[in-house]
């Protein structure tokens, strides 16, 4: 399966020189046989020059996830913008399976635009989806992503994640040697970044609340690692912990009411859960070794975590509120297994894996805890912080490229990869948002 990977390197144009660097996607590996789709440039009327090219946004989205190949614009035989102008034979001749057409219409004297799109199955000569979306001209990119979601779901049956966002941390070392840190939020493809927090001290472990309204993270702004939550819209922050020692790894429970975390206040790092409504703190693990990197099982009843109680990091599971501190060990066959999280199926565990003591390389892998089958998804050597797309289709993770921290994404089957290169600084700790609408 791995032998016949085709390599593509499509560097997208950085659309505008924003005040600070935008991430933009490079496809580093695609499937062998991507689905051919023709995305015809949308006809525009009544909108100014320089508005977002909606068809380009859709074509980029679909190519980024690797399963599609958009027909080159110069190879288009005709430029239909609605069903009455579509001749399926043209597209059958071009061996296209799907066709997307549309038009963008502005309203004179206003920012309002209407985007009509129609999506066709070329071989069955069938209209699969079509509607009119409206919004302001500044939302054309969002509208494009929405159309991508619909196209993706029509073809794959899986909900598209093109309107989702990511959180990540950027560390930038100034020539003088001082490093500054930023917590940023951007579209899933790294576009339109926004700074949520700037600090001269490290920021770690960003995590979305399940309703995507809040983010929890660790900030060293008091010179000590402490956990904070921040409302994304209002910017309002709340310091959640101030215990002696490490306060780290905040992770919201699936219902959003609890925050799992790591505290070393009792001597060594252990897993705790804090109820965000009552502030009650529940101790989950109790062991003199390091217990860290909690994640919730999909049912929200147990926590998966890493512990080096046997000497090296391995993955364990424990029920929250259980009467004992007995744990269930989930991994045995790796030298180190760490930073684990279950896929929604509750059987497959995404984790960071170091296979042997001799080779200190770290890759993203999935282990089925029933069959113990392991699929290693990445082949670089310093891969960490895997984060799952809300539709379960891809994992974004941090790695090093040419000595710098970058974000990569890999499909759950390992076949498709894309990279979000950073223009400056080290980018790390991606956290993929839940569905936002």
């Amino acid at each position: 399966m791995k032998t016949c990977r085709s390599l593509m390197a499509i560097i997208l144009l950085a659309a505008n020189a924003a005040a600070h660097a935008q991430l933009s996607i490079q496809i580093t590996q695609g499937v062998d046989d991507p689905i051919p789709i023709a995305v015809v440039p949308f006809q525009t009327a009544g909108i100014g020059f320089g508005a977002e090219d909606v068809a380009r946004v859709v074509a980029n989205d679909l190519e980024q996830v690797g399963e599609f190949r958009a027909l080159e614009r110069e190879n288009l035989l005709s430029m239909p913008s609605e069903q009455s102008e579509v001749f399926f034979r043209d597209w059958q001749v071009m061996a296209q399976d799907y066709l997307l057409v549309g038009k963008v219409t502005g309203t004179p004297g206003s920012q309002l635009v209407q985007v009509q799109y129609e999506f066709f199955d070329v071989n069955r000569e069938l209209l699969l989806a079509g509607e009119v979306l409206s919004g302001s001209i500044s939302q054309l990119r969002d509208i494009g992503h929405e159309i991508s979601n619909i196209v993706y779901e029509q073809v794959t049956g899986l909900r598209g994640a093109f309107t989702t966002q990511i959180l990540y941390v950027v560390a930038e070392r100034a020539p003088g040697g001082n490093t500054s840190f930023r917590l940023e939020k951007a579209d899933y493809d790294g576009r339109r970044p926004q700074v949520l927090l700037r600090s001269q001290e490290p920021i770690m472990s960003p995590n979305w609340s399940p309703d995507a309204e809040e983010v929890a993270y660790v900030s060293f702004e008091t010179d000590l690692p402490r956990i904070y939550t921040q409302n994304i819209a209002t910017g309002q922050r709340r310091q959640i912990t101030n215990y002696p020692g490490i306060n780290s790894s905040p992770v919201y429970s699936p219902d959003g009411n609890m925050l799992a975390m790591v505290l070393s206040k009792d001597g060594s790092p252990d897993i705790y859960v804090q109820d965000l409504r009552s502030n009650e703190l529940i101790r989950v693990t109790d062991h003199p070794a390091i217990d860290t990197e909690p994640s919730w099982t999909p049912d929200g009843r147990s926590i998966v975590f890493m512990s080096d109680r046997t000497g090296q990091p391995q993955i364990y599971q424990i029920e929250v509120g259980a009467s004992s501190f007995d744990v269930e060990r989930l991994t045995y066959d790796c030298f180190q297994c760490a930073k684990a999280r279950f896929l929604p199926d509750g059987n497959n565990l995404v984790h960071v894996r170091r296979e042997t003591r001799q080779s200190p390389t770290y890759q993203i892998a999935i282990i089925n805890v029933e069959t113990l089958r392991v699929i290693t998804l990445t082949d670089t050597s310093l891969d960490e912080s895997p984060s799952l797309a809300p539709n379960g289709s891809m994992i974004m993770y941090a790695t090093k490229y040419q000595g710098r921290g970058v974000l990569d994404a890999v499909s759950i089957d390992g076949l498709v990869k894309f990279r979000l290169p950073s223009a400056q600084g080290d980018v790390r700790e991606p956290a993929w948002s839940p569905f936002l609408n």
Partner: protein, 176 residues
């Protein structure tokens, strides 16, 4: 934070470790006597420093001054225990804290970038705690010392090579 003056620390460490190496057997003798004298000596030496005529520095005092200049301690890969060769230097630090109860320090633990970030945060703390416990056993008070781990978040050197990694696996003693 002390990270900027880091290269000075490194240079000092290098010079010092060479001196220590050369003077190894003699300092060991002094150290043994001092340890044997232990607690009764501490009071008298504190009084001595208060008198008006500056007495000539003893070999012990010189060794102490040199040891206190070493404030960065390096660790082997995947190892949380400080190196045996740092024991003597750390003993001087402990004695200095014991003799100066008003002195406050921070132990800042660090890891190299290999392995996951949260585990490295914990490893940095484990390294700093190893030194913390040694300082307390040798006379420092817990209240004088704050421990913080930065994990892999504040590397002394960037770079994905063993030289950088070795420089980053460290605990720094920083004055407060």
């Amino acid at each position: 934070m002390g990270t900027q003056s880091y290269s000075i620390f490194r240079a000092a460490l290098l010079v010092f470790s060479l001196t220590l190496f050369a003077a190894c057997s003699s300092t060991e003798d002094v150290d043994d006597q001092q340890t044997a004298g232990g607690e009764s000596d501490t009071g008298s030496s504190a009084q001595t420093s208060g008198t008006s005529e500056p007495p000539p520095l003893t070999a012990e005092e010189i060794a102490m001054e040199e040891a206190l200049r070493t404030t960065v301690f390096y660790f082997d890969f995947d190892v949380a225990e400080f190196k045996a060769e740092d024991r003597e230097t750390l003993t001087y630090h402990a004695r200095d804290l014991a003799g100066n109860p008003g002195r406050q320090i921070r132990l800042e633990g660090h890891a190299d970038e290999r392995g996951t970030r949260e585990y490295n945060l914990a490893l940095g703390e484990r390294r700093a705690n190893g030194i913390l416990n040694y300082l307390i056993v040798n006379g420092a008070s817990r209240a004088q010392i704050e421990v913080v781990s930065y994990g892999e978040e504040r590397p002394a050197e960037t770079g994905t090579n063993e030289t950088a990694y070795a420089a980053n696996r460290r605990v720094e003693i920083v004055g407060r």
